[in-house]
Symmetry: C2
Subunit: 275 residues, 2 copies
């Protein structure tokens, strides 16, 4: 296989549909690129699973994308990025980009008082993924982390302007606000859907960092540095694969992608596991 064909798609995977917020950013930043998305909706969520399980699933997801001749892989899932990025890089020859480093780097360019907050799933927060990366990049930085597991189902339920969401956001974010952070990393690809209420609770002076947006810039850099950008001037083609197609999928997916999701295909778990 020649992974370096410029017209080959960028592969993006996630535990479910959250990664569509990343596709939205990548597509907006790199409109000519073809994109193949895989959402592991049969096994979602990864955020409540152990590292070993997340690594196993992530390698299966990446192998599926490789069969689609992708030229690079974007791990559009913070849980998978924090648990499995090293294993993915070791197992595959093509570039693999996670959410953690781009989000951390962007946050460091934004903070003025050196106090950065990170919110995410239990898995991402327990792994201290952002905290380790931020401190690797800048030893003096202060990082405060908080798991916000209800934000995922609230985003999927579309309770974007609901009072209950605001109360839960206050519950989760109160401590970070009191600690005086000036920058908050949305360490889960679902969270940009709730950015309005998060911004309201945190106040306008706190900068929210969307890792998907941050990662899009890095994807562009990688493609340019390796000279594998798609030279086409026509709009890239986007294909979506999922391991399960539940009744509400399309409604939620459209909200996350910001436009109707077309060309969705369900694949069998057996195909994914490779038996």
């Amino acid at each position: 296989m020649n992974f370096m064909n410029r017209t080959n798609p960028i592969g993006v995977f996630d535990s479910g549909i959250g990664g569509l917020t990343v596709v939205k950013q990548v597509a907006s930043f790199l409109p000519s690129e073809n994109i193949v998305y895989f959402g592991d909706t049969a096994r979602v969520p990864y955020g409540s699973k152990s590292n070993a399980t997340v690594i196993e699933y992530s390698i299966q997801d990446a192998k599926f994308l490789l069969k689609k001749n992708v030229k690079m892989i974007v791990v559009a899932c913070n849980t998978a990025s924090s648990a499995a990025l090293n294993e993915l890089k070791e197992n595959f020859e093509i570039p693999v980009i996670g959410m953690i480093e781009p989000g951390a780097r962007t946050a460091l360019t934004k903070t003025k008082n050196g106090k950065i907050g990170v919110i995410g799933t239990y898995a991402t927060i327990n792994n201290k993924a952002y905290s380790k990366e931020l401190k690797r990049l800048d030893k003096k930085i202060n990082v405060y982390e908080k798991a916000c597991p209800l934000f995922v189902p609230l985003a999927e339920e579309g309770l974007i302007d609901h009072k209950a969401t605001e109360l839960i956001a206050k519950e989760y974010l109160g401590e970070l606000k009191e600690l005086g952070i000036d920058t908050l990393i949305l360490g889960c690809t679902h969270y940009p859907i709730l950015s309005k209420v998060i911004q309201k609770v945190m106040g306008q002076k706190v900068t929210l960092i969307d890792s998907g947006t941050a990662a899009s810039g890095i994807v562009e850099e990688y493609l340019r540095a390796r000279d594998i950008k798609n030279p086409s001037n026509i709009q890239g083609e986007h294909k979506f694969y999922v391991s399960d197609l539940p009744a509400k999928f399309k409604e939620v997916a459209d909200r996350f992608l910001g436009k109707p999701v077309k060309h969705i295909q369900k694949i069998d778990l057996e195909e994914l596991i490779g038996h």
Copy 2:
């Protein structure tokens, strides 16, 4: 294998930890019985998955319990009960009991005005599992169903007395209340954890039906009718198996079981899938 050994355990499975509320009821009703529980925590939740996937997973879960020589199987998951009970009964020789029929039968004995509400996951509600069963048992009954997907993560997060939970409960249950139901089936094994707030929102005149409690009575009937009750007078032994052991598991499991969960063992997904 002799499935009819009276001292053999009762097998109980669920997509995750919700079924522990059923174990709690079965154990309280049948204290001498040995119980083997399997929670498919690596693939939780089932409620957002398609029927085909839920059937596939349920058969794997039941096969795992059979290896533990269970004398009957309790499907302590409404989603699996509504999607897979027939397939399970066809595939296995031992008795298989779901949540739907016991919950429906109990509700019919309680309602006075013939208006029954049902709440559950999207899968359970979309399958119209309770609605079909209630109408099969009593053609004249009026059934009103509502999916309440946020109740599961709210119960797992322990937001039992939180104002946000009450607001979300009002959002979900407002219509059922206006319709004047006098009986409400908690069609998800997580929901008994939130019964206090559900009762508050619905008012004291509405009877809540916990399918786990209802099923315990049926389990006892089955065992007696087949003469396979454990004749022992000593406290039954309870063993718990899960397909993943996330960090927060024990805390949530203890809350659901109502006492500390001991003897938890993690099994590999490979073992479950049978490859």
